[in-house]
Each structure stands twice: as structure tokens, then as C-alpha cells.
Symmetry: C2
DNA sequence: CAACATTGTTGTCAGTGACTACTTTGCGGT
DNA sequence: ACCGCAAAGTAGTCACTGACAACAATGTTG
């Protein structure tokens, strides 16, 4: 009932959107209490179904966490693409914009990032790999473009893109664990992008 | 008895080294089954004490995990210093040696790295922050030395060091999650260090 | 209309973290 | 040497969890 605000007092037997509702609830739980505290029974209670219902949609707890990581990568990809859509068509500005969007997503969702960084990619579950490739794709495209326009040195664009991706990821991990104060994030990211551009100059 | 190989068949009431034994067992468990599966009762059984004994040394499960993360950083620091002790006194070689040691520690201990990357630094528990600072110190010293000798551009050595540290950390995360094949680790690290050196050149 | 697959419910079980009360032991002070 | 006490360990308890099995509700399709 509470999960379907347009229905009458009586809820139908079928929830009608349980998988999505569970993932939303999971994201809230992870945000508020961290990954370790996530509980299938908690989610079921929150969504208003019986305690075993979530296992109709996710074989086990790990499968739900994996699906949530996929949501995280999809969200990240959106944020990066959104930032690029608002950035002037100037290569360095776009690279900075993408890196900044990643950093802010990551520090705005520390627990989700942690989950994304600990979810193994399996051939049987191609969703996470696909989603992470899609999140990475705008950065890869930028690097390729930079190389083609002679703004970056030639080489494997995927390699350079992975290094930049890893750098931003690593910096946000330092901030999320408290090793580096959050107030230094933007400056560190900007410095890292500058360093990357100098180091990748033709 | 099994935990104290020099004793007779009868174990004394006091274990005599239970905290250390628990941390060793915890490291094995995390290595074999991942952080999420770590169980205080499991550890107690393995070490040969009652199920509640571990809570005499660690207030709760999280405190034990935090202590283990500290062990991880201490181990990392040792590996980096060990690598530097065996590297010729040539700046670039040493920087590469340190980065490589970090990368190999991280990919050789994926679950431990994950724990280290998810352990929050709290003022009440300064051990982790101290251990991670000590792990970072050789890299910081290298950067400072490189700057003083005019091999790197001037600037905040801590900042440059953090960027390099984050980059290696991020790359190993990509490898540990399977986004990047393990066989590409050394090449990626070498490329990242080269890029760092070019980007930091005076 | 009926069969059946999907989805949800109820109940059960073993294991867990955390807590409490009690016991053991070794150290330090007198 | 003796004793008090703190530290460390034991045994029991409780609520909660993930996972599983059996049953029930429902909607789609032939």
C-alpha cells in the first residue's frame, strides 16, 4: 500500500514493481547505514512485503548488492554525461567537467562507491561490466578525441582513460575514508587533471 | 593448544596472545572468504577459545575489522620500504619500485585492500590514520626528494604524493574487480608512473 | 476455461553479534 | 605468603538474519 500510493487501501497480491522498489530501498539503506548493515528483511519490511519476497527477484543478498552496484555505475554514467552536456565544447574544460562530475558523484555517495569498487565482474552477470563500461565511455571518447585532435599524445586511449578514471576513483576513496579532508577534493581533482594533461601532452 | 604449539596438551586458562592470534585468523578468513563473511565465532573456533572471548579484545566486530585494516596499512608500508631498500639510488627507479610494490601488495591482498579502502578514519581510533600515514611516508619522502633535487616541479609534495598514491590504488581496484585483466597491471602502473613523471616535470 | 508460471506468504532452521553473569588466573601491594 | 582485584576467558541467552521449503494467490496464454 505505502509502496503504491495510487492504489486503494487494499494492496493487490502482486506488488507490481517490487524489484525496483527493493533496489530503491536498498540504495537508501546503504546510504544511511552502509553496505554491511543491508538486510533483506529490513528491505522487505520497508517495502511492505513478506520477508522472503525479495528472494523472488534476487537469488540471494549478493545478487541484490550486485544489482545495486550496476545502478550505481548507471547513475555515475548519467552524471558524467549530464556534466558534459553542460560544458562548452572545449576539450580541457570537458575533461575537467567529467572528472569533477565523477568526483562529486563518488563523494556524494560514499557507500555506493564502496560497493561499486568491491563488486566483482562475473561473466554470468554481465550487467555490472556493461554499466561500468558505459560510465567509462564518455571519458574514453574524450581521450580519443583529444588524441585525434593532437591535444594528447598518441597511444592506447583506453589505457590513458583508465588511468584518469582510476586517479579520480582513488582520490575520492582518500576523501571518503577521511584521510583527506573533503574541502580539498576540488583542488586535488583539478591538480590531478592538470597533471594528467601535462603528462599526456604530445 | 593448537594456538600455542610450545605448550603441553592442556592449554592454560589464559591464551596469552589472543589478540594477535585473532588478527592472524581474521586475515586468513578475509583472504579466503572476503570481508562480509568474517565471523567472530568462526575466529574464536579457529583459535580455540569460547565464542565470546574475542569481545574481550575488540569491543565489536567493527573494531576488529578496523584493527585489521591497520595491519594492512602497516604491511603495505613494510612492502614499500622493503622495495625501496632493494632499489638503486636512482629517483625514477625508486618511484617505480614503490608504485610497483604498492600495486603488488594490493592485488595480492584484494580483500584486505578493500577493507583498507572502506575503513573510516576516526579521531578515537588513531591507529589506522597513523598506519596509513606511515605507509604513505616513503612516497611522500620520495616526492620531496625529487622536488628538492629539481627532478620534479615545485609544489606541495603531499598533494603530488596523494595523487600518485590514489592513482595506484585506483588502478589496483580496477584489476581487483576484474574490470581490467591482471596481466595488464604492471604495464598500467608503469604507464601511470611515466605519465606522473612527465606531468610533474619541472 | 483451465493450466501453469510467476510472485508472494508463512514457517523453519542454523548461525550470528551482542550481551550478561559467572569463573579462572596472575599480578601487585602489603 | 596472602589476598584483592582486574583482566581474560566461559557458558548461556536473545533477537535478528539469510536461506530454504511448502503452500497460496494471481494473471497470462492457449
Amino acid at each position: 500500500m505505502r509502496a503504491m500510493p495510487h492504489q486503494t487501501e487494499e494492496r493487490r497480491y502482486h506488488h507490481g514493481g517490487l524489484r525496483a522498489a527493493l533496489l530503491e530501498a536498498a540504495e537508501r539503506s546503504v546510504r544511511d547505514h552502509g553496505v554491511a548493515q543491508l538486510s533483506l528483511r529490513d528491505l522487505a519490511r520497508e517495502v511492505g512485503v513478506s520477508h522472503a519476497a525479495p528472494r523472488r527477484h534476487f537469488a540471494d543478498r549478493q545478487e541484490l548488492l550486485t544489482a545495486l552496484a550496476e545502478v550505481g555505475f548507471a547513475r555515475l554514467g548519467q552524471d558524467i554525461r549530464g556534466a558534459l552536456a553542460e560544458t562548452p565544447d572545449e576539450f580541457c574544460a570537458r575533461l575537467r567537467g567529467a572528472a569533477s562530475a565523477f568526483a562529486h558523484f563518488a563523494t556524494g555517495n560514499p557507500a555506493l562507491l564502496e560497493l561499486m569498487n568491491s563488486t566483482k565482474h562475473h561473466p554470468e552477470a554481465p550487467g555490472v561490466a556493461r554499466a561500468s563500461d558505459e560510465a567509462f565511455a564518455p571519458i574514453l571518447a574524450l581521450i580519443s578525441e583529444g588524441q585525434q585532435r593532437g591535444l594528447l599524445r598518441e597511444g592506447d586511449p583506453q589505457e590513458a582513460g583508465l588511468i584518469l578514471f582510476a586517479t579520480v576513483n582513488g582520490i575520492t576513496t582518500l576523501v571518503n575514508t577521511g584521510l583527506v579532508p573533503a574541502g580539498r577534493l576540488d583542488h586535488l581533482i583539478a591538480t590531478a587533471v592538470d597533471l594528467f594533461l601535462r603528462g599526456s601532452a604530445p
